[in-house]
Each structure stands twice: as C-alpha cells, then as structure tokens.
C-alpha cells in the first residue's frame, strides 16, 4: 500500500517535472552582415522558442518576419536568397547539453546547445554557444553565432558577393515564461 502510494507520487511528480515547459512567441532574432561596401541588418520579433526542464530546446523563426532598413533588401532576401515562400521558417531543434539544476542559481551561465539548425530547407548539425539565466519564474536565453549561407545552399552570385558577408552574425534573445 505504502509502496503504491510512493509510486503514485513519484509518477505524478515525474509527470509534473516533465511538463515544465517555458515558451515565448515574441523572441528576438537579428542578423547582421558586414562588408566594407555595405552593412545589412534585419530584425525579427516573431520567433517562437520552447525550453523544457529536461534541457530540450527548440526555436522557429518565420523568414518573412525579418524587417530590413530598405524595402529592396527585404525583397532580395525573401525572393532570391531565402526563397521564403518555399522555405517559410528557420529552426533549431536540440538540447542544451550541459543542462543541470545548478543553472537555476539566478546568474548567467554559458551553455552549449547542440542540435539541428535549419534554414533554406537545409539542416546543419550545430553546437551553438548560449547564455541562460533563471530569475525564479522565467528563463532568459541569449546567443550569438555565425551562419554561412553556403552551408545552407544559399547561392550568392559573384556580382553581389562583395556586399554580403561570408558569415552572417545571428543574435537570438528570448525570455521564456512557463507554459
């Protein structure tokens, strides 16, 4: 009887622990391409991100949601490079490999997110450095990493290659609330 009750509690607790999910639909993603000729920046505030208390982490960013300074840049980005009608989202799906309860002490911790990073329909296995902070009720995640268009079959014609960096700097910032 007692055993069964303990089992019941542990299952319930296990269930509850498993169900801890943190989420946002307003994550911030910025990319920045810098060359001597031109700097190109775009910002997206419609990123969905999910973090589980197991360290599993995913985000999805709608490509059409990137805003540029110039209308023509946005047009070229969607039409020529990202082909956003065919490949509407960029995404990451994986886990924070060094996940542990110690991350919850209220200060920033450097972690590593390992998983599948997809843009332009082409997935790459990536280890992406990130910073996380727990403030008692929600998680804040920040990350800065480089993406090479060539790794995702994004062709840049030689005529404009001097204007677009070989590696694009991507910044992700998201505050995830309990779901």
């Amino acid at each position: 009887m007692k055993t069964a009750f303990v089992l019941f509690l542990s299952l319930l607790f296990g269930y509850a622990a498993h169900a801890q999910q943190y989420m946002t639909r307003e994550g911030y993603v910025r990319f920045y391409s810098s060359t001597p000729i031109e700097d190109i920046e775009a910002i997206n505030n419609q990123t969905t991100a999910l973090l589980k208390s197991t360290g599993e982490f995913a985000f999805r960013v709608p490509i059409l949601g990137f805003r540029f300074e110039k209308a023509l840049m946005e047009e070229h980005f969607n039409e020529n490079y990202m082909e956003s009608t065919t490949f509407p989202n960029g995404s990451f799906e994986g886990r924070i490999t060094d996940w542990n309860e110690g991350l919850k002490d209220g200060s920033w911790h450097n972690v590593n997110a390992s998983g599948s990073f997809t843009i332009h329909g082409k997935a790459q296995q990536r280890d992406i450095p990130a910073k996380v902070r727990w403030d008692g009720e929600k998680w804040t995640i920040e990350s800065n990493f480089l993406v090479k268009p060539a790794d995702h079959d994004i062709e840049i014609p030689s005529m404009v290659s001097k204007k677009i960096a070989e590696s694009i700097e991507v910044t992700v910032e998201a505050t995830l609330n309990p779901r």
Partner: protein, 292 residues
C-alpha cells in the same frame, strides 16, 4: 475511500496520467511549438522592375530610392542585313524615378522618339498581402507627355498645349505564387491635338501583362494592349515578349516588341509594327537603383 487507495487503482490512475497527461515522445520538439506564426506582409516582387516591358508594373522604387532606367529600341528586324536587322539604329529613353515614400514615386524621362519628355506620378493604392486578405495590388499611374518635335506648320498659330497628351492607368496585379504574376491594366489616353476631326481625343485600352519566373533571378514577361474602340488602319495593338535578368541592384529587361515608342501614348495607341511582317523591334531596359 478505501477503494480509491487500492494499489491497483492508484497505479492505473498514475499510469493513465503518464500515458495521456503529457506529450508523446514520438512528437518532434518543433511540432510542440504549436501553429506557425502568421506573418502578414505586403507581397514583394510581383514584378522585378517598375515596368513589365513597355507598360508600368505595380512596383515603385522604395522610399528615397532613385531608379535610373536607360532603355533602347533598335530598328525593325525586317530592315534586314544591311541595317544589321535593326541594330544599326536605336531609339532611346532615359528615365529617372524617385521614391518619395514606399508607395509614392515621381518620374521624368526623355525619349528620342518624337523628342518627347514625359513626367509621371505613381501611387500604390492597394498592396496584396501575404495571407491574401488583400488579394490584389492596385497601383495608379498618371503621365503627361510633351512632344518636342518642330511644328509641322510653323506659319499657323500653334499652341504649346497641342504638344501635350496624357495617360492615366490603374495596374491591377496579382502574384499567384512565387513564379507567376499577372496584371490587368485599363488605361485612358487623351491627346489635346488629334490629326483629323473624326479622331477621338480619348482612347481606352485594356492591357494584360505577366511574368513567369524561370529561376530566382530570371523570368519571361509578356504584355498586350487592346484598343477598345479600335485603331486607325496604320496602327495596331502592341504585343511584347521579353525576359528579365536581375543581378542585385540592376535589372536587365530584353524584349521583342512591335512598338517603337516607349512612352504610353506611343505604345498604347500608336504602335505601327506588324509582327507577321517582321516589324519587330529588339530592345532592352536597363535599370539601376541608387539609395539616396
């Protein structure tokens, strides 16, 4: 109560909770993000340039963008080998369009054909949305053309207004998918001076244009304009077929057309070439944008 605490019951309850209470592991993490974000944006690049071939497309240069176009129409292919199938002769139009806002632009251009200057304004009235809540784009275009040729008869009393003609049009365009865009373009052309008493000052035309993308940077384009009340025998409806090549900043448009003039009154109502007789002009529009 005793029954409720029976081990079998508790275990069954807990097991049921485990099975149904949390997301299945088979589901991918991305699926758990829920429905995709709905991003509603004006549809971009219905056409690659501000013209389909001769006629305006629904596109305008963006705010603070200066759009410079240099366009040529060579001689008729039917002129034959002596004229290198028309390449020995060329008419030109140079145009400057400036985007005041993302929706409003003004332009000025000079054509060698009839030494005509044209000044225009273009306004995006409606923009198709990515979710098709607005299913079409509608752009209004208005142009005043001034013929700069010497007076045919300088001895009579000539008025400057006689040199002027106007075209007003609405470009109704729809991007059906990433490749196909179509436009319907009703136009009203008014000339202050007509050749004979029987000629009408106003002429309505209805145009159809489209493009089909072959690759992300090239497309085939076509346009046709039909004069609703018919045309004098020396004139025909204009038909043009071409190709767009976009190189980032530049757009090259290469085409074959039976219209020699590149301003609206000329190609909508005064097209002289007949396709079946080889009276076809090879030409190009080359555009370049400058951010000011």
């Amino acid at each position: 109560m005793k029954n409720l605490l029976h081990p079998v019951f508790i275990f069954t309850f807990a097991f049921a909770l485990m099975c149904f209470g949390h997301p299945s592991h088979a589901q991918s993490l991305l699926d758990e993000l829920g429905p995709e974000e709905l991003v509603i944006r004006p549809v971009s690049a219905t056409f690659k340039d501000t013209k389909i071939i001769n006629v305006q497309s629904n596109e305008t240069p963006g705010a603070n963008v200066l759009h410079f176009v240099i366009a040529h129409r060579f001689g008729k292919i039917s002129d034959g080998a002596y004229e290198l199938w028309g390449l020995d002769n060329a008419g030109m139009r140079m145009a400057l369009d400036y985007g005041i806002t993302d929706r409003l632009s003004v332009g000025i251009a000079r054509s060698t054909f009839q030494k005509t200057v044209d000044a225009s304004a273009k306004f995006r009235l409606l923009q198709q949305n990515s979710d098709n809540s607005m299913p079409v784009s509608v752009t209004l275009y208005s142009v005043t053309m001034v013929n700069g040729l010497k007076w045919a008869d300088p001895t009579r009393e000539n008025f400057f207004t006689s040199r002027m003609s106007y075209t007003h049009q609405a470009i109704v365009a729809k991007k059906w998918d990433s490749k196909l865009s179509l436009a319907l373009i009703p136009s009203l052309t008014h000339r202050n001076l007509v050749e004979s008493l029987s000629d009408s000052h106003d002429q309505w035309t209805i145009g159809a244009g489209g493009r089909y993308k072959l690759t992300s940077r090239t497309s085939v384009n076509a346009e046709y304009h039909y004069a609703i009340a018919g045309l004098p025998t020396e004139h025909v409806n204009s038909l043009s077929i071409g190709m767009d090549i976009e190189t980032g900043g530049h757009v090259f448009q290469l085409h074959l057309t039976n219209a020699q003039g590149m301003f609206e009154r000329a190609f909508l109502t005064e097209t002289g070439g007949r396709w079946r007789d080889g009276e076809i002009y090879f030409g190009f529009n080359l555009s370049r944008v400058f951010d000011l």
